[in-house]
């Protein structure tokens, strides 16, 4: 009897405590700034990310908001310009609890030191571990480090084909892409393949015949592309025009798995393989709803590999706020920022749109990688690569 009474009292206190935590919320609306590239050469990506965060905000608000209050994502255009990004971040750090972005890498490098100095978490959800980790603990990485992630992937891919003796990579010198290509090498060698001299793809290349001929001259059995999606599509067309037939012996890296790969590549990319973190065939109500809404608003185009990142990031912020009892009280800004940052850096079992994962010291530990084959513009799962925790 006493035990039962004690249990009821404890439950009552806990519930009341939680209720107090919720009723202590000091904001009428959670405003989360998102430093995004809404204009410029990456505007297409920026609009996708913005759509995803707006969708997340709508879904959160439909379910009651964050700690009972609605959330609004405020899009702040950095225009891929560090001059603008820094001023915008400087404005944001004054009062914001947490931020999303910046996008892309030049703005991250210029603006994140401001977030670090002011001890505010800004989730750079679409950049590599190698960039995000420079700003720990005031950013979190959405991807594991390259040396951990890519060797098993490359080995898993090459290991499918017993005739794959020589592999060549096309590498565009942008940001972390050369490092990603470098990280493939260990896995390819483990799979028993000889890694040929990579072909560098100039960023302003408009035709690709010379590069493709240079690659084919080395007589590769397999090809990995580490370039932007449009260039990949054009190079695949070029390969086919020169007689390349083993389409599944072509692997496109995750950053190349983007809309232009499909729109420019058309039927010519049937049979190639790509890898990324998003398995579109997962059957879950949340993902199905997201996918349907995305396709409706993007002329039938399915979501691409990075389109879920900021959706999940906003939900992670929601969870961090609710689980740590953050109130949004400006007087507690510093301590509440730290609470959110600490929570996100080491959250366990975070339920993303497609799967759950753990974070450890700012980086994910158990996110799977998927290899797909493309047929008719759709991805078919070939292999799941599970990374060691």
């Amino acid at each position: 009897m006493k035990k039962m009474a004690f249990g009821v009292l404890a439950t009552l206190l806990l519930t009341t405590g939680l209720g107090f935590a919720q009723t202590n919320v000091a904001v009428s609306e959670w405003q989360i700034p998102f430093l995004n590239c809404l204009t410029g050469p990456l505007a297409s990506h920026g609009s996708m990310y913005q759509w995803s965060t707006n969708q997340a905000a709508a879904d959160i608000n439909k379910a009651g908001g964050i700690a009972g209050k609605p959330v609004r994502v405020i899009g702040v255009d950095t225009a891929n310009d560090p001059q603008k990004g820094t001023v915008e971040m400087a404005r944001i750090v004054k009062e914001s609890l947490v931020a999303l972005g910046p996008v892309p890498e030049p703005v991250i490098m210029a603006a994140m030191p401001i977030a670090v100095e002011n001890q505010m978490l800004s989730i750079t959800g679409t950049t590599s571990y190698e960039y995000a980790s420079k700003f720990f603990p005031w950013s979190v990485a959405w991807f594991p480090p390259y040396p951990k992630r890519f060797p098993p992937l490359a080995k898993g891919w090459a290991g499918q084909f017993s005739d794959m003796k020589q592999v060549i990579q096309f590498v565009e010198p942008f940001g972390p892409w050369p490092m990603m290509a470098e990280a493939h090498v260990a896995g390819l060698k483990e799979a028993g393949a000889n890694v040929l001299k990579p072909v560098e793809v100039p960023s302003d290349a408009v035709t690709f015949g010379p590069l493709v001929v240079k690659a084919l001259e080395q007589k590769p059995d397999g090809i990995i592309f580490c370039c932007n999606a449009e260039k990949v599509a054009k190079m695949i067309k070029e390969l086919k025009s020169r007689g390349w037939q083993k389409m599944d012996h072509i692997l496109v890296f995750s950053s190349g798995d983007d809309a232009p790969l499909y729109t420019v590549g058309g039927e010519d990319i049937n049979g190639i393989q790509v890898y990324n973190y998003v398995n579109p065939d997962i059957d879950s109500p949340r993902w199905n709803a997201f996918k349907t809404a995305f396709m409706k608003d993007h002329n039938g185009m399915p979501p691409f590999s990075l389109s879920t990142n900021y959706y999940d990031a906003l939900f992670m912020i929601k969870e961090a706020i609710e689980k740590t009892g953050v109130t949004g009280d400006p007087k507690k800004l510093k301590e509440e920022r730290k609470k959110i940052a600490d929570y996100c850096a080491n959250v366990k079992g975070f339920q993303g749109l497609m799967f759950s994962w753990d974070m450890k010291d700012g980086g994910p530990t158990n996110k799977p990688l998927f290899i797909f084959e493309i047929q008719g513009g759709k991805k078919k799962l070939v292999k799941e690569i599970k990374l060691a925790g």
Partner: protein
């Protein structure tokens, strides 16, 4: 040997892009005294218009072509008065003012394309535009119909405009208006009518170039114009401003140099090597290899 031939053909294909754009650039210079540094961006905008019309009309090539030509002519007609106003106080071609005006136009076009078309994603043209499979395929050597069209039309365009501008009465009238409107009026050349004809002519070429690039490249992005603009400017300067034949030779040569460097040395160093070669040439011959024609 097979590889070398393949690279040279690749180079000619790349050079055809420069050749077409430089020809349009030089034509504007010869008929209107406009140094249009954003000419490639104008052509890319026409490509986007072609894409839009093809999309709405179920890939009707004729309508797409007409739309491309019409948009190019319209852009010329809109921008020409701006250039003329800027240059009216100068007795000769003013590179600085016209360059900056055209840079401003280029900025506008590139940003509008990245904002307003296809949500900023690159656009893709139907494969049928490129004319189908390779005409020739021997080992690594491959020649596509689009490459043949681009090169062929480029050479024909240079020849045709050279003949028109230097061997015919209307061509001389165009050049007279461009060089000295007052003098042209004095000798009885109708300024407005002839001026409109010259802009229409360069617009026609611009639309055709847009179509050919669509066939050759198969896709376009908002940044495409900026990517080639610097090389187009460099080619026209190295060849000699306004020199049609020079533009053809230098454009093709640059394409071949780039292709050979990419094929045998390095992809990322191809721009550097190409520009260093051009730099050496321009220092040795400041008026261009083939001389100024303005």
């Amino acid at each position: 040997m097979e590889v070398f031939i393949a690279q040279v053909i690749n180079g000619i294909s790349l050079g055809s892009i420069y050749l077409l754009l430089v020809t349009g650039f030089n034509l504007l210079l010869l008929v209107a005294m406009i140094i249009h540094f954003a000419y490639p961006q104008v052509v890319v905008l026409s490509m986007y218009i072609i894409w839009l019309v093809l999309g709405y009309t179920g890939n009707n090539l004729l309508l797409g072509t007409l739309a491309g030509v019409a948009s190019s002519i319209l852009l010329n007609l809109i921008s020409a008065p701006l250039f003329q106003k800027v240059m009216e106080k100068r007795g000769e071609v003013d590179i600085n003012s016209t360059m900056v005006v055209s840079m401003g136009m280029g900025m506008i076009i590139t940003d509008v394309l990245s904002h307003g078309f296809n949500k900023g994603h690159p656009i893709a043209f139907p494969d049928t535009l490129a004319g189908g499979d390779a005409i020739v395929r021997i080992g690594l050597i491959s020649i596509l119909p689009g490459q043949v069209y681009a090169f062929g039309v480029g050479v024909v365009a240079v020849s045709a405009f050279f003949w028109l501008l230097y061997k015919t009465r209307p061509g001389r009238a165009f050049r007279a208006i461009a060089e000295d409107p007052s003098g042209a009026r004095l000798v009885g050349i109708p300024l407005l009518k002839t001026g409109l004809q010259s802009y229409a002519l360069s617009g026609l070429l611009g639309g055709l170039i847009a179509l050919l690039l669509a066939a050759l490249l198969g896709s376009a992005s908002s940044a495409l114009g900026e990517q080639v603009a610097i090389k187009v400017i460099a080619v026209s300067i190295i060849a000699g401003l306004g020199n049609l034949v020079g533009g053809l030779v230098v454009g093709l040569s640059l394409g071949i140099v780039e292709a050979v460097v990419q094929g045998y040395i390095s992809g990322t160093w191809s721009n550097v090597i190409a520009f260093v070669i051009m730099l050496v040439v321009i220092l040795a011959k400041p008026n261009g290899l083939f001389g100024l024609k303005i």
